[in-house]
């Protein structure tokens, strides 16, 4: 078994909301609430969830673009959260990020050559004519023409800018890139170009990705393993094939069944979730999803017991006390008001992997 490149344990980030203009507020947003996962060299782990689930904050906290409150982040043998400024700067050579919005993430006053060159200079990788050459190589590697170096970001389309963002990340030769919704602002034909590029670069350079996304079909396409987040917590994780073939967390099931299917007439049954996600200033007690859950065995125990993220099958972790096997015994559930014993539930509407292309 190889050792993980990145190992995250109990990562937590709460934002204090200051008192509002009209004297309200003063509460805490539990953006990331005890998240743990590993990323192995050369693999893609996808972090999936809807707006506000904490996936972006998780990605940024790993790089310390926001300072986490607690937890542990080990990267390539370094304790990232304990590093002082200078060693952190050096470590960032190995861990990079590609942002969602290709419009706001590039400085409009810099040429794309200067944008890509910056990392080379800061990390003293190359300078002068050597740096110029590297910049052109990088642009060509991401499918842009070398002579574009003197152009400004506004002269490019969204897909081309995203390629510039990728070239910038690659310039310092990282081992790991956080891709924060890198294709969600792009049209579908351009999205496919960028996804293929990311896969090619991973193959050629042995990169590991933490791929943050909300689109389950994109994730299925690119990820080796998938972790699903809801209200700041990971509620299910598994390798891609397993997750799409047999999703066990009722939230994952709802997410999968909600995705529109591009086949007319094949309208599947849908698990329509009740209402909106609760606010993460006051997450529900017990299982964070119990207020919207469609598991037929849901009962009072779900509101009382915090479900551990535990193995339901080898490497398939699920936080649900109603999906057997569970370490929360039936007696313990009954003691917390449980009336319905655990029973495996996988609705047909949630199964999307058909095995045939």
């Amino acid at each position: 078994m190889t050792t993980p490149l990145l190992s995250v344990r109990n990562l937590t980030k709460h934002f204090a909301r200051t008192r509002g203009l009209f004297g309200g507020g003063g509460d805490t947003v539990r953006a990331v609430d005890g998240v743990s996962f590993d990323v192995y060299p050369g693999e893609t782990l996808a972090l999936v969830g809807e707006s506000g689930c904490g996936k972006t904050t998780t990605g940024r906290a790993i790089l310390r673009l926001v300072e986490p409150d607690s937890g542990e982040v080990m990267f390539d043998g370094h304790n990232v959260l304990a590093l002082t400024a200078e060693p952190l700067r050096q470590l960032r050579r190995k861990m990079q990020i590609v942002f969602q919005d290709p419009y706001s993430s590039l400085n409009p006053r810099m040429t794309i050559g200067a944008i890509v060159r910056e990392g080379l200079i800061i990390h003293r990788i190359a300078e002068g004519a050597e740096a110029d050459k590297r910049v052109r190589q990088l642009l060509e590697e991401v499918g842009l023409r070398g002579e574009y170096v003197d152009k400004y970001p506004h002269e490019f389309s969204g897909g081309q800018r995203q390629r510039v963002g990728i070239a910038r990340a690659l310039s310092v030769e990282p081992k790991f890139i956080v891709c924060d919704e890198p294709v969600s602002a792009l049209d579908v034909s351009v999205q496919a170009q960028v996804l293929n590029l990311l896969q090619d670069l991973q193959r050629d350079r042995g990169l590991a990705y933490l791929f943050i996304a909300h689109d389950l079909s994109v994730v299925e396409h690119i990820a080796d393993r998938v972790a699903v987040m809801y209200l700041g917590q990971i509620v299910e994780s598994a390798d891609g094939d397993t997750l799409y073939r047999e999703p066990l967390m009722p939230y994952t099931q709802a997410l999968l069944s909600a995705a529109p299917v591009p086949e007319p007439g094949a309208r599947r049954e849908r698990i329509v979730l009740r209402g909106d996600a609760p606010s993460n200033t006051m997450p529900p007690t017990g299982c964070v999803f119990h207020t919207r859950c469609a598991h037929p065995r849901r009962d009072a125990a779900c509101a009382a017991i915090v479900p551990p993220l535990e193995d339901k099958a080898p490497t398939h972790l699920v936080a649900c006390i109603k999906q057997p096997p569970t370490s929360i015994g039936w007696e313990q559930q009954q003691a917390s008001g449980g009336t319905l014993s655990p029973e495996k539930y996988v609705p047909r509407a949630a199964v999307t992997a058909t095995g045939t292309p």
């Binding site: 049209d187 034909s189 351009v190 299925e220 396409h221 995705a259 591009p262």
Partner: protein, 340 residues
């Protein structure tokens, strides 16, 4: 054959910019029948939103709807109406739902006031009566405790709830046609499922027609009965929804469908359409898709007309006349240049 509810003929909407004339919509013809849902699809910059705004005559300078364009709705050419006449159509007979419910709602009025305003403007309803109807409408679109939530301001609601408010506003006057411009694009997938369900429900209930503008082929497949595909300011293909997905004819439609990652599909490399949509000031002459097309041949310099390829299925492609060319795909021109 009954007359369609809406019939657009040769619509051209141009923008006269410093960079040249942007022919955003360039000769679009399409129709919507009563009670029908038509999906208008295409990527950014293809002209689908400008088409929708032209129907309601919401085009501001430097944009202009060119002479000889016709938009016939309920027997009247909307482009010939006087300003006060078109105002009576907007929000009354034709309503629009926008993509971003946060910016489309006024932040300083309660949502109840904004929904009620529709009835006051179009029906001359009294304040009290309009409020009552607004609450009923908010209830109908699935806002829980509608009489209380009506007093909320937009920022107090989630994105999904705000979109329900937009729908309530649009449906207040029981319009014959609703134009929904990317109504679920800003929403999470579970909320999108709720909103699409609601739109289908209300359409059945009120028998209205829906022109659904989207870039998402999945949304189209589940909602529309007929699909109009736009590229480069033109309609490039039009067919019943089953045919668009089962046997797309235009190479652009084919590419769009192939480029989409699908749940449950094998993890192969995605098919891409090389290059990007050219800016509307610089549509290529002849076939506008030619540089990105894997079948293009000499004839691409000739502008293709819409040809019928099956009953109810038209395509703007020379392959309609020379189908054997489909057997000889090659690298598109745009792939030879650097990507995108």
């Amino acid at each position: 054959m009954t007359n369609p509810l809406l019939s657009i003929e040769n619509l051209r909407t141009y923008f006269y910019t410093d960079a040249g004339v942007a022919r955003a919509v360039d000769g679009v013809s399409l129709h919507v029948n009563e009670g029908e849902t038509v999906g208008l699809v295409g990527e950014s910059g293809c002209g689908k939103t400008v088409t929708a705004l032209s129907i309601l005559r919401l085009i501001a300078s430097p944009g202009r709807i060119e002479p000889d364009s016709r938009i016939v709705f309920e027997g009247k050419d909307l482009l010939q109406l006087r300003p006060e006449e078109i105002r009576r159509v907007r929000g009354n007979r034709i309503a629009m739902i926008f993509q971003e419910p946060m910016t489309a709602l006024n932040p300083v009025f309660t949502v109840g006031d904004q929904v009620a305003e529709v009835a006051r403007v179009h029906d001359g309803a009294t304040r009290r009566e309009a409020w009552k109807r607004a609450v009923e409408m908010l209830d109908l679109v699935g806002i829980p405790a509608a009489d209380e939530r009506a007093r909320d301001y937009p920022h107090q609601m989630s994105g999904g709830m705000r979109q329900r408010v937009m729908i309530a506003m649009a449906l207040m006057m029981r319009p014959a046609l609703v134009i929904a411009d990317e109504p679920t694009t800003a929403l999470d997938v579970t909320i999108q499922a709720q909103i699409l369900e609601l739109l289908r429900d209300l359409q059945r209930k009120f028998g209205m027609s829906l022109l659904l503008i989207t870039h998402d082929m999945g949304v189209v497949a589940e909602t529309a009965s007929r699909v109009v595909v736009m590229y480069g300011g033109e309609v490039v293909e039009q067919a019943p929804v089953e045919r668009i997905f089962a046997s797309p004819h235009h190479p652009y439609t084919e590419g769009l469908l192939a480029a989409m990652p699908r749940l449950g599909a094998a993890r192969d490399r995605l098919v891409t359409i090389p290059g990007t949509v050219p800016p509307p000031t610089e549509w290529p002459s002849g076939c506008r898709f030619r540089d990105r097309c894997s079948y293009a041949w000499e004839r691409a310099t000739e502008h293709p007309a819409l040809s019928e390829v099956a009953p109810g299925h038209v395509s703007r492609c020379h392959l309609a006349q020379e189908p054997q060319r489909r057997l000889q795909p090659h690298e598109p021109l745009a792939a030879g240049k650097s990507a995108s």
